[in-house]
Amino acid sequence: MPKTSAAVTQADYIKAYRIMLLSRVLEEKLASLYRAGMIKGGVFLGRGQEALSVSVGIHLHRGDIFAPLIRDQAGRLAFGDTVLDTLRTYLGSQLGSMRGRDGNIHRGRPRDGYYAMISHLGAMIPAVSGGLFARRLKGERGVVGATCIGDGGTSTGAFHEGLNAAAVEKLPLVVVIANNQYAYSTPNSRQYACADLLDKAAGYGVVGHKADGTNLLDCLQTLRRAVQNARGGGGPQLVVADLLRLVGHGEHDDGQYVDPKLKASPLGGDCLVIAEHHILEQKWATAEEHAVWRREVETEVNSTADRVRREPPPDPEEDDWAALSCPEYREQYATS
């Protein structure tokens, strides 16, 4: 692909890095709340995937559509999700966007183009495609939709059906594969037989892009190009970023199955640390300034968590227990 997109500036890089830092600190807090027994259910972290994830969210505009996956805290924050709603959803606050009816990474505000993932992998690809299809029918132009998936998710039928249908409709869709080497505990050798996941792009007739998932600059440049291609009418874009999941599948999992050789390889680099070094080397910030950034986000995360922990949980007596929106069916449904 010709690199026609505008160059990533120092300001872009710093902005992205600070969202990554916020995401990392927020996720460390989530892990600590989980260990303290304050979060029910699972905690799924994006450690090691922040550079890729933030690069997706940061290139989307208000009015675009984004369906993140489980390791996209950074991308969510970049797209406009908040520390407050993240904590509310994880801690089950009644005031969160999901009102305790769904939790952790299953959150969104569909009316704002921020779709709430279901757990079934690949399912969000056709959903975002349908959103883009509707925008086209309504005459809106210049809209982009993006959704993220992992190496394991590429093996689902929904991934295939969704990407193929989007390609047939030439939708402005960006599908981002975080190739983090493991689907829960299953290594890529048991997941696919093509030489590179990027090979799939040609099969679907979509543009493919490869990124180094440990390198923020490369992720920013690649996603900028992919999003601009889609926005400009270039049809679906498939981005494959190689990296390593630096945590277990969830906080219940220690990931002991991860090959030590992979951890020691360049794939095992921590994108946040690499980006921090880059900033310091480039003298874009001093170590003192960086320490202030970290303290600021720690303060925000800790004070928000304290606030949310005082919020009420959902009240079973107050829930209307209605799965249908039509009021005329509620009475009949309730006795169903």
Partner: protein, 320 residues
Amino acid sequence: MITYLEAIRLAQQKALATDPRVFLYGQDIASFGGAFKATKNLSKEFPGRVFDATLSEDAIVGMAIGAAIEGMRPIVEMQFADFSTCGLNQIVNHAATLYYRTGVPCPIVVRLPSGGTSGGGPFHSQSMEALYAHYPGLVVVTPATVEDAYTMLFDAVALDDPVIFCEHKFLYNHLKAESLPETSLPIGKARLARTGRDATIVTHGAMLHESLAAATELAEEGFELEIVDLRSVKPLDTDTILASVARTGRLLCVSEEWPWGGVTSEVIARVSAEGFGLLDVAPMRVNAKDTPVPYHPDLWSVHRPTASTIAAAARRLLLS
């Protein structure tokens, strides 16, 4: 004369004409007009509103969900109800959960050409209504008349919730009406298709007509059967069923579905739990046999309930 199939086509035509949010999406439905011609000429009449889909039921429903989030009112056609299992995940886990989880409704209509026809075989004959009714968050309708096929499809499009529209293929060309009504009973209300004092048959879809034929047979023997056409299986109009059982004291449930965990079991469970004292004798039911739907017409015609097997069951119920 207007057939049941033409009523479905006309309801979609009316929806397209009156609501700019409506579009149609499904396999072979554009210029070809659909496997059954339920969308014949609609792509010509409404350019840019009727789209052929890839052979991807999961993606078809997923696309419809995304479009609904963005304010559209998609009607999707499954070529056969049986193939909707390939889109099951999007229907039951995505469309059906969206409102409860996010507060954003999911106004999609999934049309399922349902039920058996002679020679259809195991994969082109299924009745899926109980499967979908099991999941919270879906409205499941089973129109049994030309009039209901028309009004209920139009009403389904207007509904803010996902609707599984089980249209019966056996009725497509068999049933005819002089004209179409403008309004009808709302979705969620059952209809008394025949009044009688001796026993109640609760049924839906193509089995309404087998049950009516059975009732005619029984009338010659001096028994008057009352027949409740459910119209929608979810929500289920328990009030109308109980009121009928209160009049007759006897209940026979008839469905083309398989017996295990189906509409007949649900109706009997409700009447037993909420109206046990209304029953003079134990309720009965007639379902399809608990095997895949057979291909050969001689096997198929015995696999499904028919007027004569329903009449035989009704006689046992009436004489017990």
